[in-house]
Assembly symmetry: C2
Homo-oligomer: 542 residues x 2
């Protein structure tokens, strides 16, 4: 026997309709590629998204076909989010930090019909325009009067022209909620990127979960600045959660340096921001160097890679900004866990609470997770044993775009490729990527713990710990360190710094100092590059 409630599909367009009706005058502020600050409302967004939906149809894009973006976080990108998916087309946000070959691969694989791009990426688009096979239209996200005088791109269209010619009369179609809404490719550091095809339903359920108090905690009294890019996993769902809750949105555009971000935080009364540790390090450096404080910022969500405990401490103790550690993946839309406190933690000391905050957090409702041994047996949640992390849920990938079957799943669970432990309270902590684990004499050493300790040293700007060949133990930890400008520390001092902080045999055997550590397109350290670079490295004393 079925219930007898109204039937309506879960669609991304309903978020925009809701925001227009109930939060019409709420602001969306964007730092533009043009250099200025742009300011409008949800009502304006809705009007322009409807015009854009007409424009996309006029360009000959059929339902279900893909439309690509190479763009920063900004209001035009937001319009594309809602117009393309809402009209039943599929938005493929491409990471512009990828190599031109990878961008081309993605555009071809997705069979993109139109490519919208910010002017920052004009050289990139010019370099691939003649190679991408299916793109029929290239559209520059820029005002008419700032269109390039000449370009090798054939028939380059201007976004503002495109929508100026359209009416704002458009009825969002009542799609099947299983229909694809967006497509995002993993930034696999090895091999070709793989596409994850999100549905309207998975996106809406993810949005509900993301906005919950113990997740990203979004409300109409917030001003949210997503540093996390809209070109990668939908900026952690914030463009959707903001519409669902009527939050003010502040988009940083290309200005991701500490100074630009800080100025935007203060000028727009930002209460919450979300980004990767490397971006926050830049922000903290700026704030520390200039002896600034945050006047409205209350919390920051940190994910993408493990947040060093030293960063948690600095934000919490020096700046009274609450740090919310989170973990996700492209394959998870991306939210998997968020490190929100339970009631019992509120009575703890700041130090005890920071030990909790160092973990990636609890599974949000809608995602289930477990750790398993190499033979697939579930391991206990005792906070000690580590195993391969598997997840499943409403917004977890079942198969990659254009791949056959679900062969990568294990009994219906998605293997994340992370190694983790889970404590009795359900808090998960990543100890390593499975391919980064250091296997010393048959035992595993987690590289992230070793990196976090190094990062707590005042002279260390960034640290990567990789496996180096050892004749007796097979692998031993080698610490690769980038020092802070003007600071110094020796190999011996750093090795001594581990004393008492970790099991003696986990201590890195050696340290090398480098000028820079290679970062991937989403700001993660590319440890496989370091492993290649130090393949023949001879550890001192081995």
């Amino acid at each position: 026997m079925n219930g007898q409630m109204m039937q309506m599909p879960l669609l991304t367009s309903s978020l925009l309709v809701y925001a227009e009706r109930h939060h019409a005058d709420q602001q969306i502020v964007s730092r533009r590629v043009e250099g200025d600050i742009h300011r409008y409302t949800y009502a304006d967004l809705a009007v322009r998204a409807r015009k854009l939906a007409n424009a996309v149809a006029a360009l000959g894009v059929a339902e279900g076909e893909r439309v690509a973006t190479l763009a920063w976080n900004g209001y035009r990108h937001m319009e594309l989010y809602y117009a393309v998916s809402g009209a039943g087309r599929v938005l493929n946000t491409i990471n512009p930090r990828l190599h031109a070959d990878q961008v081309t691969f993605i555009a071809d694989h997705a069979e993109n019909q139109v490519l919208f791009f910010d002017m920052t990426f004009l050289p990139l688009v010019e370099s691939i325009a003649s190679r991408v096979k299916t793109v029929r239209h290239f559209v520059a996200l820029i005002d008419k009067d700032q269109m390039p005088a000449s370009t090798s791109i054939p028939n380059l269209l201007c976004y503002e022209d495109l929508i100026a010619g359209q009416t704002d009369q458009f009825s969002w179609p009542v799609l099947n909620e299983q229909a694809a809404a967006t497509l995002c490719y993993t930034s696999g550091t090895t091999g070709n990127p793989k596409g994850v095809l999100y549905s309207h339903r998975s996106t809406l359920l993810h949005t509900f979960a993301a906005a919950l108090p113990d997740s990203l905690n979004c409300s109409a009294s917030d001003a949210i600045l997503p540093v996390v890019p809209m070109f990668h996993v939908n900026a952690w769902g914030l463009p959707y959660a903001a519409c669902m809750t009527g939050a003010k949105l502040v988009f940083p555009g290309a200005g991701l340096d500490g100074k630009s971000l800080y100025e935007l935080f203060e000028a727009e009364g930002v209460t919450m921001a979300a980004g990767v540790p490397t971006v926050w390090q830049g922000l903290l450096n700026h704030v520390q160097a200039n002896k600034l404080t945050f006047s409205t910022m209350r919390r920051t969500v940190i994910g993408g890679s493990a947040c060093p405990p030293a960063m948690v401490r600095t934000f919490e103790e020096d700046y009274n900004v609450h740090v919310i550690h989170a973990w996700g993946m492209t394959e998870l839309s991306p939210l998997g866990t968020v490190c929100a406190f339970k009631g019992k933690h509120l009575a703890q000391t700041p130090g005890e609470r920071q030990a909790v905050q160092a973990k990636q957090g609890r599974a949000v409702f809608g995602v289930d997770m477990k750790i398993v041994s190499p033979d697939g047996a579930e391991l206990p949640c005792d906070g000690v044993q580590t195993g391969d992390l598997l997840v499943r849920g409403h917004w977890v990938v079942s198969r990659y775009f254009k791949e056959e079957g679900e062969g990568h799943l294990q009994d219906g669970w998605f293997p994340t490729g992370d190694v983790a432990k889970i404590d009795a309270d359900g808090y998960m902590q990543i100890t390593d990527r499975s391919k980064d684990v250091i296997k010393s004499g048959g035992e595993w050493i987690g590289s992230i713990d070793l990196e976090n300790i190094a990062m707590a040293h005042p002279a260390v700007a960034m640290a990567a710990c990789i496996a180096a060949f050892h004749p007796k133990w097979d692998e031993r930890p080698l610490l690769v360190v980038m020092k802070k400008p003007g600071m110094d520390v020796s190999r011996e001092e750093l090795i001594a710094f581990y004393d008492g902080k970790i099991a003696k045999w986990w201590t890195p055997d050696d340290v090398v100092f480098v000028d820079s550590i290679p970062l991937g397109a989403t700001g993660k350290m590319l440890k496989h590059r370091l492993r290649e670079a130090y393949k023949g490295y001879k550890l001192k004393g081995s």
Copy 2:
């Protein structure tokens, strides 16, 4: 083209599975009918719910069949919530404050197979046991040793016996998410109650929306005390939201007087409570009379009927408890609007903010609303014009149980029977039930405004404003007042109290003082009874 994310239905059982896995040791505390405080965890709840699911099957209840409760808020009722729906049966919570004839009507109409009841309601159940047509088993929610020595109920079963005999091995079935989960009847003050059949899907979507920061704002650091009864519209969804978020739950059982509630608030560190204004008045009376304060309570959600501004002020200013005004209906699962601030309100004075809080609030995402004129035309959201309030959404009834078609809908919208205005920020304020509106010389006077003003007078405990016959104006407002114990106020003083607070012609023509005002089964004033009682009343001066 469909998305390629994992497919799993939205089921209430997934809430329990999540709570057991990720919040196993979180507490559920209940004041029992037995008189003591009972304390256990989500892990215990899950084990006993699985035993109960086996027990319900053993009683011969088939999938889709209905199981009834007549019970207070407590852990056994919670077990019934999850076990019955989770196992694919339908839980019909019956309001024990209804007349025995109505309870019988509901039990027959729902074709309940089993009736579970708290001992408080033994006399009620004894009075109907021989009349209800389909109930095959009666089960007392009590420990074995406190079963009644004798009763007229044939073969009365003991709940603890029932589950003690069962294994806790039970796999929650993978139901269709459209399957019915619970059934609740409207407490229509006239005519027979009508059944609203909630689905698993509508319940889960409602739970997400209810837990959001701008809704009931539920988190794992909260201790939630639902005074709103589990026997009526699922206690506003809190039994589900608590599992979704891992909140501590505190159930008051039958102890709804101010003293019992206050003691539970303090003993269990309650941070959030939810209830109707009449219950909060009792609590405030107790706290004021004994000069107490709240040490952990941060916010209270008030709904069920309009919250008088005086109550908002008292909670906010005297007790530092944030009041969240909300509005819902049985037909809405029940959540329609919640009065959470927007960013711009945070800079306002307490007085300005309280003017916002006097409204029932903004539509939560998932519900849309509008006001219409008698001819069905949509009226502007200008905060001035009033009209019939219509709603639609994922958890709004499409048709009543066993009724044919959707004849009560207007173009797909559910007419709430409320008269309301909506301001430009989307805040809705109920001005009346359409049947309570006072029609004076062709113009409408809203009775709720007049009641709120009277309630602000220090000597007034409760006030109802009804239409009385007037030879010239057809109807004029008559104020029916119950004074606070030991306080006095005259007719003339009360009428003068309206000066300057409202349009002159809205002022009540007359006041009658009564010892009590009749309340319905959910704590609402039964104004139709007052209208009958004062049918022939001759207004002074008319």
